[in-house]
């Protein structure tokens, strides 16, 4: 990787620059686009830093058909790899609905798991501190289940995926602010 990244949210943004205009290959999801997606992962609301990767990797002019195909193939792989840098998925309060912006990333993970059937993943479900401990434990599990279902529908095998919910016990950000809560309501993919 040429670029450094400060957090995973930026990886998504960088990947957008990198793949500029390449449409994703056919998959089973609706294309929600990425336009609104960044804000959900970029919970801090700060500015986004682009550093170096100028997205010039894909240029189709003056290439032969096979070269173009190869370039496209490489670009698609790079896109998928970049997407797979994102392993945390966020949720709204008291919901387990997978957000639009998580879908392409999860689909990329699902394809990877389908291509690598020996890869095992633990899906850790989490909730923010509000509400009751035990309900949040169940809510974290429902979030992990939602991600698991999405991955299976998109090609992963049930045997590759294990869920565990920690409820509100393992916040990534401490404190009682909207920003902290938003970052704590999440499912993390942990590759074994």
């Amino acid at each position: 990787m040429m670029f450094t990244m400060r957090n995973k949210a930026f990886a998504l943004v960088l990947s957008l620059g990198f793949i500029a205009g390449c449409s994703s290959t056919g998959d089973t999801m609706e294309d929600d686009g990425f336009g609104t997606g960044v804000s959900a992962t970029d919970q801090e609301g700060g500015s986004t830093v682009y550093d170096g990767a100028d997205g010039s990797g894909v240029s189709s002019s003056g290439l032969s058909e096979s070269e173009r195909m190869q370039a496209q193939e490489q670009a698609a792989q790079a896109e998928a790899a970049a997407l797979r840098n994102i392993t945390t998925f966020y949720f709204d309060f008291d919901t387990s609905e997978i957000k639009a912006e998580s879908r392409d990333v999860l689909a990329a993970h699902a394809r990877y798991l389908s291509d690598n059937p020996r890869t095992q993943v633990t899906l850790e479900g989490h909730a923010d501190e509000r509400g009751t401990t035990e309900y949040n434990l169940a809510l974290g599990e429902r979030r992990a289940n939602a991600v698991q279902r999405f991955l299976i529908i998109n090609g992963a095998s049930r045997d590759q995926l294990e869920n565990v919910s920690y409820g509100e016990e393992k916040p990534v950000v401490s404190g009682s602010s909207e920003s902290a809560w938003a970052q704590n309501r999440r499912v993390e993919m942990i590759f074994q």
Binding site: D94, T133, E134, E141, K170, S176
Partner: protein, 456 residues
């Protein structure tokens, strides 16, 4: 749990010899007063214990005088019995003990009691007593008087080992409380709770059991993975709880006297929210082994499970009725978490809460007349109480992230966790509202309180 108190028979003090000894003691007692207070202060900072902050008095509290107990023989320093009794009664929120500095005399026996003095001080009840050494045990003789009625309500002795002066004091508090209010006192009961220390990327969970004033805390389990939802067996001898010590949630039972533990539920998915049945034979638990969070009855002998709810939504936080026939639980089948009630195991769930979008983790009062639960209103989470007969809902707390209400076995107080200055503390309040005292941890958070049943 190892508290060893003998409750002996009633005694009377009439003969002249005892009377004169008693007068001598009275003088001795007033001399002893100051050194005793110093010792108490020195004995205070024990790091494992919870701190205590008494928060607010209740206007209707009963004025009562606890006279510093007279002492004979070689008595242990440190815990002062009458001081602890005074604190206990203050913490109940129902008594307003007189400060010893305001007392006109310091009687230790009935013959030295001049009702007029105590009436002048506006006292309704008076407790006097004397501690003495009896072999390797310490005996307390104590008497409780109705000041206006000018009669003795209690005259008893109790003994405990020298290292259990707190147990002895809590026992006397129970007796006084019962004689005055007609309800059993809960000062000899215990609290189970979980402390959480965070630092250097580590989280240390400790399951602890202490007296109801947070003193004499003992760590029963320590883990760097979460420990949640302790619940007492009806005989008070065993705890059940959720521990993530294997990396996954499982339910354990833990006998306090022996430390013997057993993993009773470790199915795939959730194993959580245990609540011990009143007959002691089973736990209500939340499992997701059949797809999503449902409530099951887990038989502790056979480990067989019986599913009690069936819905695609989250069903959790099951809690038995006092007779063990029905149960309360939380379900989000209506779109958000609400409290439901099954009158019997097979009954159709009846939704009880409608007052706001988030109502969860219900617990019955011991008499079954009320339920206590977590209630969201205007963004904050509070403890609310519902009258089961009328359906009237009262919000009891004014703090913000209130959780885990647990009712004392006499139904007069409850404990819950809340946040103060970014850390989690326990608060004890009167069952009708108004906080009595706060129990912060010396460091870090304290949460998941569970009030024990009556012990012994």
């Amino acid at each position: 749990m190892t508290m060893d108190i003998e409750n002996m028979t009633d005694y009377t003090l009439t003969d002249q010899r005892k009377k004169s000894r008693c007068r001598a003691l009275r003088r001795q007692c007033s001399r002893l007063l100051i050194p005793v207070f110093v010792l108490m202060a020195l004995a205070m900072p024990a790091s494992a214990e919870l701190l205590i902050r008494i928060t607010e008095g209740v206007d209707s509290a009963i004025p009562l005088a606890v006279v510093p107990f007279a002492k004979t023989g070689n008595l242990p320093g440190g815990d002062d019995v009458s001081e602890i009794v005074r604190d206990d009664l203050t913490m109940s929120g129902e008594f307003k003990p007189l400060s010893p500095e305001r007392m006109l005399s310091l009687p230790s026996r009935s013959d030295d009691v001049y009702y007029r003095d105590w009436r002048m001080l506006g006292q309704r009840f008076l407790l006097v007593g004397e501690l003495s050494q009896q072999g390797d045990r310490i005996q307390a003789r104590y008497e409780l008087f109705d000041v206006n009625g000018e009669r003795r309500l209690l005259g008893e002795t109790a003994a405990a080992s020298a290292d259990d002066m707190r147990g002895l004091a809590h026992h006397i508090s129970d007796k006084v409380y019962e004689a005055v209010t007609g309800e059993k006192g809960a000062f000899s009961t215990k609290l189970a709770y979980v402390t959480l220390e965070t630092g250097a990327g580590k989280r240390i969970y400790k399951l602890q059991v202490s007296d109801v004033d947070g003193k004499r805390a003992r760590v029963r389990l320590e883990s760097d993975e979460p420990i949640l939802s302790p619940t007492w067996s009806p005989d008070g001898k065993t705890l059940a709880y959720v521990s993530f010590e294997t990396g996954r949630p499982a339910i354990y039972t833990h006998e306090l006297s022996s430390g013997k533990r057993e993993r009773v539920a470790s199915f795939s998915g959730l194993n959580s929210s245990p609540d011990w049945s009143p007959d002691g034979k089973s736990l209500l638990v939340t499992l997701s082994k059949d797809g999503n969070a449902e409530i099951y009855k887990l038989d502790l002998a056979s480990k067989s499970t019986k599913r009690l709810t069936d819905h695609w939504s989250i069903d959790t936080e099951g809690s038995w009725t006092a007779d063990g026939r029905g149960f309360l639980f939380t379900s989000d089948r209506s779109g958000g978490p609400q409290v439901y009630y099954n009158a019997t195991e097979g009954a159709e769930p009846r939704r009880l809460t409608f007052g706001s979008r988030y109502n969860a983790r219900p617990r019955f009062s011991p008499d079954g007349k009320f339920i206590y639960y977590v209630h969201q209103r205007e963004g904050g989470f509070h403890i609310a109480r519902m009258n089961m007969e009328t359906g009237n809902e009262t919000v009891l707390t004014r703090t913000g992230l209130d959780e885990s209400p647990s009712v004392a076995p006499n139904g007069r107080m409850l404990i819950y966790s809340t946040q103060q200055g970014g850390t989690s503390v326990l608060t004890v309040m009167s069952a009708g509202g108004g906080s009595n005292y706060v129990l912060p941890a010396a460091t870090g958070d304290v949460r998941e309180p569970a009030w024990s049943p009556f012990l012994r």
